[in-house]
């Protein structure tokens, strides 16, 4: 049974950005989210990098899954294979960007090493496998999830900038308050549920 009959690419795209935001509803990519979201320019760079890497790796992992792992009956090795392919893609992107443009490297490239351990990247590849997406759906889902993550991190960095000025209880300063803020964001985004659904 396949979910493809249910999802047109358009609604999958918007669902993965808004209703099923990878961060707000699947909790993924939080470590780098919390570490980086302090200032907006690096949030922006990281968001962009995540979007690019997500799109590329989801497609590559789809190809590996369907043309290598499944034919060879090696699906149980997918965790290792996916993480290695993600690391390789990240490494290659870093090299390419470094050659192509120094400005782009400073904006985007320096965030790439952080991305290998961003659970959102591996998470999207694993969801893609579990939900049995087609190649097209996987690319759209990867792109949408990246954009959704980017949006969430930009919103959060602006909020954090504002809260940094206030005298928050020292126990709550930083991560604690960030968690509560993400809670409110997730609560707000629930409103869109039922309009579109992914999965």
């Amino acid at each position: 049974m396949n979910a493809e009959t249910l999802l047109n690419p358009f609604s999958l795209f918007f669902a993965s950005i808004i209703t099923s935001n990878i961060l707000l509803s699947n909790f993924l990519g939080m470590c780098s989210f919390i570490a980086i979201s302090k200032d907006s320019s690096s949030s922006n760079g990281l968001g962009m990098a995540v979007t690019v890497v997500l799109t590329v790796t989801t497609a590559i992992n789809w190809l590996i899954l369907h043309h290598v792992l499944i034919p060879l009956d090696l699906v149980y090795l997918r965790f290792i294979v996916f993480i290695v392919s993600i690391a390789a893609v990240v490494q290659m992107l870093e090299m390419i960007i470094d050659r192509v443009s120094q400005a782009l490297y400073l904006n985007l490239g320096i965030f790439l090493p952080l991305i290998t351990v961003n659970c959102a990247i591996l998470g999207v590849s694993l969801f893609m496998e579990i939900r049995q997406y087609t190649l097209l759906q996987s690319v759209i889902y990867g792109l949408g999830s990246g954009l959704g993550w980017w949006l969430a991190i930009m919103l959060l960095s602006a909020i954090r900038k504002k809260t940094e000025k206030s005298k928050v209880s020292p126990a709550l300063q930083g991560p604690g308050l960030t968690m509560i803020t993400i809670g409110f964001m997730a609560m707000a985004f629930i409103g869109f549920s039922g309009m579109l659904a992914v999965q």
């Binding site: 939080m30 965790f79 694993l126 968690m179 993400i182």
Partner: protein, 201 residues
């Protein structure tokens, strides 16, 4: 070098991976709506942290520096796949419920963090102990969240109904925002206590 007791205290409380560093929550926060899922998931994390710490410590003199990270990732992925295979074979329902989150243990920063920060420079048995206690510190926080979520969301503890039948379940507890709120509140309370301890000590 720290004694096993100190390591335990550090990992469980004063330097708890979630409290102090907010590490590794991604892979497990999503499954905290039921205690049984959280228990299995965090046991998996304890197992992987402990074993990968042990393995890294045993092999540390053999691993070439250039590929250290990749080899560590391989070791972690190896144990995660073992957990996945075991769950599929012996706990199929829980394996289904955990979905992709088992695989995401690989990217749990705690594991890599402990391998890098502790196992790399400590003897095997101590590293194993460090892994176990780090995992337990992680488990403690997540089980607390899961306890509140399951109690208020379903009125049960580990699947056993404990609240009177007139109890009105808090549906939000079963949805994602509550996990964020609870984690925020737990950090808030935990750090307040810690700060007081620090002030009196």
């Amino acid at each position: 070098m720290s004694s096993p007791k100190e390591i335990m205290r550090e990992n469980l409380w004063t330097n708890n991976p979630i409290f102090m560093q907010i590490l590794g929550i991604c892979s497990a926060l999503a499954v905290t709506n039921l205690m049984i899922n959280t228990l299995i998931m965090t046991l998996g994390v304890v197992f992987v942290t402990a074993m990968s710490n042990l393995t890294v410590s045993l092999m540390k003199s053999l691993i070439p520096r250039k590929v250290r990270m990749i080899v560590q990732t391989l070791i972690i992925a190896f144990y995660v796949i073992i957990v996945d295979i075991l769950l599929r074979a012996y706990l199929p329902d829980i394996s289904r419920a955990l979905g992709p989150y088992v695989g995401l243990i690989i990217t749990n920063c705690i594991i890599m963090g402990r391998a890098e920060a502790f196992a790399q420079s400590n003897p095997p048995v101590l590293s194993l102990w460090d892994g176990v206690t780090s995992g337990m510190g992680y488990m403690g926080v997540l089980m607390t969240i899961a306890f509140v979520r399951e109690l208020l969301g379903f009125g049960t503890v580990l699947g056993f109904p404990v609240l009177p039948s007139g109890f009105e379940p808090w549906i939000i507890m079963v949805t994602p925002p509550s996990a964020f709120f609870l984690l925020g509140i737990i950090i808030w309370i935990g750090k307040t206590i810690m700060n007081k301890e620090g002030a009196t000590a």
